[in-house]
């Protein structure tokens, strides 16, 4: 594969150098020259699956867990993968020295505050993967960082040890009470924002969680920055499958691409009212919605 021409993204053949189990997830390290140097927390990568003659044409997207710009092998990229379907299963079964295509870094990263304010980072399931790297950057800027990790059960938590190492305070929640407090992250969040006086809440995880985090943050005077997960076919902005309704700064709702305009959005800009039952409808007041009614 040829290298991409632009300075901000590369498309490379990446070699897997390490893969290990992490609860129900697989944590993989790829040598992906050029990706690490350009990546910021919140960026994602698009991996090809199945080899050069694969019948799975579409790439699979994963948050970058962390990067090492100049490791022993050259720049490496880590991802944390939950095997939910054929593509993710193929990736979790890769062995060291296997290769696959990696495009990245993609999307817009988490915006960082200019001052050292307190922040709460909320991760649901593998959604915590990009947050530790973010926590390190925030602390380098003098921010106090508290983390809440939540999952259905203990084996679906990711990075509890890492959280304790990187954050100033950590709360763990599981739906079934197998680790930490029993319940949802949204139950622990309000007190945490108030106690540390958080100005920003960063979140990554299932859409229901992001919606709850966004309204709690707003109610408690914090800005929510959420990384959404929409089904993507290309990851690079050319297919228009990954859209969701988001208000722009003038208040106009537009169906925007989460792969290029996101995946990080301000929580109070996302039209959560449009999501229900695994579907997202176009709000009646969205830009271009009247154009759809004609035909």
């Amino acid at each position: 594969m040829r290298a991409a021409v632009s300075s901000d993204v590369v498309s490379v053949t990446a070699e897997l150098v390490a893969t290990r189990r992490a609860g129900e997830y697989q944590h993989l390290t790829f040598v992906a020259p050029g990706v690490a140097e350009r990546a910021r927390p919140g960026h994602f990568v698009a991996l090809s699956v199945g080899g050069p003659t694969t019948a799975h044409l579409l790439r699979r997207c994963f948050s970058i867990h962390r990067v090492t710009p100049s490791g022993t092998y050259g720049g490496t990229v880590d991802v944390v993968v939950s095997a939910v379907g054929p593509g993710t299963r193929w990736i979790t079964e890769l062995r060291p020295h296997d290769t696959t295509g990696v495009i990245g870094p993609l999307g817009r990263p988490f915006p960082l505050p200019t001052e050292g304010v307190a922040c709460v980072l909320v991760g649901g399931g593998y959604g915590s993967a990009p947050l530790f790297w973010l926590a390190e950057m925030l602390r380098e800027r003098g921010c106090r960082v508290e983390m809440i990790l939540g999952a259905a059960t203990e084996s679906r938590l990711f990075g509890v040890v890492e959280a304790r190492r990187t954050a100033d305070a950590v709360t763990i929640c599981t739906d079934d009470g197998t680790a930490g407090r029993k319940g949802w992250v949204s139950e622990a969040l309000p007190d945490m924002i108030d106690a540390c006086g958080a100005r920003v809440v960063y979140a990554c995880g299932p859409m229901g969680m992001l919606s709850a985090v966004s309204s709690i943050a707003a109610a408690h005077g914090a800005v929510a920055q959420v990384a959404v997960e929409e089904a993507m076919a290309c990851g690079v902005g050319v297919c228009m499958t990954c859209v969701l309704p988001v208000r722009d700064k003038h208040g106009t709702t537009r169906m925007v691409r989460s792969c290029v305009d996101g995946p990080v959005f301000r929580g109070d800009r996302v039209r959560w009212d449009a999501f229900a039952d695994g579907l997202c409808t176009v709000p009646d007041d969205a830009h271009g919605a009247t154009g759809m009614r004609a035909h």
Partner: protein
């Protein structure tokens, strides 16, 4: 109209220039490989991966008169060697398109084939007229008319299924554009006799044909026990549909050879992933090709296919791609 020159030469020493004009020599492309409408956005996204001037032409996402939000999500499902999509022609509307998207493509030296649509014949013509009046029209090498969209006047049946409705659209678009503008009708494979539709379009003023648009399909989400895409049905694309594209191009090109249709350039599209796939469509009569869904797998696919095509031709002893056009027609 555009005179931008190629920025990089493919490895193999094969003449890749092709003529797409209504008359020979009127519209020469540096190479026969284009993007496919709706699979490349409108320029900046792929320009991160390769220079848009390397393409024979850049085919833009189908644009209609008004801004369109597109449908709700999920908008896609992966299928074996392909995908189903139901985007709903999301777009900015023709006015914003010419001001922003076409302006960008013109500024970057792309040769642009603009894909247009409408819910009525009049809307098609209005979109074409706005394009023709644009200050960036010099970058436009032609108009691709996407007739695989619902006809308001006929209970939403797509124009492309009806020779009369297709012909009416071509006539109105022809009247709205300067006489020498190439007009390429993009046909649907979901018809009883594609030669009939091709004939109606060419007689009504189309100067060429693009084949094929997606074919209608459906996928069921068995966890939720409902259709997987919000639009219920969707368009199937990717290598899975390539044999359908080869068949459609072969049928129409054969009819031209036999004198049942006037000769006109054909642009082949459907499932092209490699240079070999491109040559297959060229061999049954396509003069140029478009790369669509494969771009989602490899953003460099259009230029890679161009280079691989040159190698495939060289290996078979062709000095020029023109010599291979229709080589497999009997």
């Amino acid at each position: 109209m555009s005179t931008a020159t190629d920025t990089s030469r493919p490895a193999a020493d094969v003449e890749l220039r092709v003529d797409l004009g209504a008359a020979p020599g009127r519209l020469t492309l540096d190479n026969p490989v284009m993007t496919a409408s709706g699979c490349a956005a409108n320029g900046p996204e792929l320009h991160r991966f390769f220079d848009v001037r390397e393409l024979g032409a850049f085919v833009t996402k189908t644009v209609m008169r008004e801004p369109r939000s597109g449908r709700g999500t999920p908008r896609m499902a992966e299928t074996p060697s392909g995908m189903l999509n139901s985007i709903g022609l999301q777009g900015p509307g023709i006015a914003a398109f010419v001001d922003t998207d076409l302006a960008w493509l013109a500024a970057h030296g792309a040769r642009v084939l603009v894909s247009i649509a409408g819910g009525t014949g009049t809307e098609f013509a209005e979109v074409a007229a706005t394009l023709a009046a644009s200050e960036h029209v010099d970058s436009v090498i032609g108009v691709e008319v996407n007739i695989s969209c619902p006809n308001v006047a006929n209970r939403g049946q797509v124009f492309a299924c009806d020779p009369g409705a297709s012909a009416r659209v071509m006539t109105l678009v022809r009247e709205a554009l300067p006489r020498d503008t190439p007009i390429i009708a993009k046909l649907s494979p979901d018809v009883t006799d594609i030669v009939d539709i091709a004939s109606a379009c060419l007689k009504a003023g189309a100067s060429g044909l693009t084949m094929i648009n997606t074919t209608l399909g459906m996928v069921v989400d068995l966890d939720r026990m409902r259709p997987q895409v919000a639009g219920v049905t969707g368009g199937l694309s990717g290598p899975a549909v390539r044999p359908i594209a080869v068949r459609a191009v072969w049928q129409v090109a054969s009819a031209m050879r036999e004198g049942r249709l006037p000769p006109a350039p054909i642009i082949g599209v459907g499932g092209i992933r490699t240079g070999r796939d491109a040559l297959e469509l060229i061999a049954v009569g396509a003069t140029a090709v478009q790369v669509g869904t494969a771009t989602f797998n490899d953003p460099m696919a259009p230029v890679r296919v161009r280079d691989e095509l040159a190698e495939e031709l060289a290996r078979r002893g062709y000095a020029s791609v023109r010599n291979a056009v229709g080589a497999a027609l009997t």
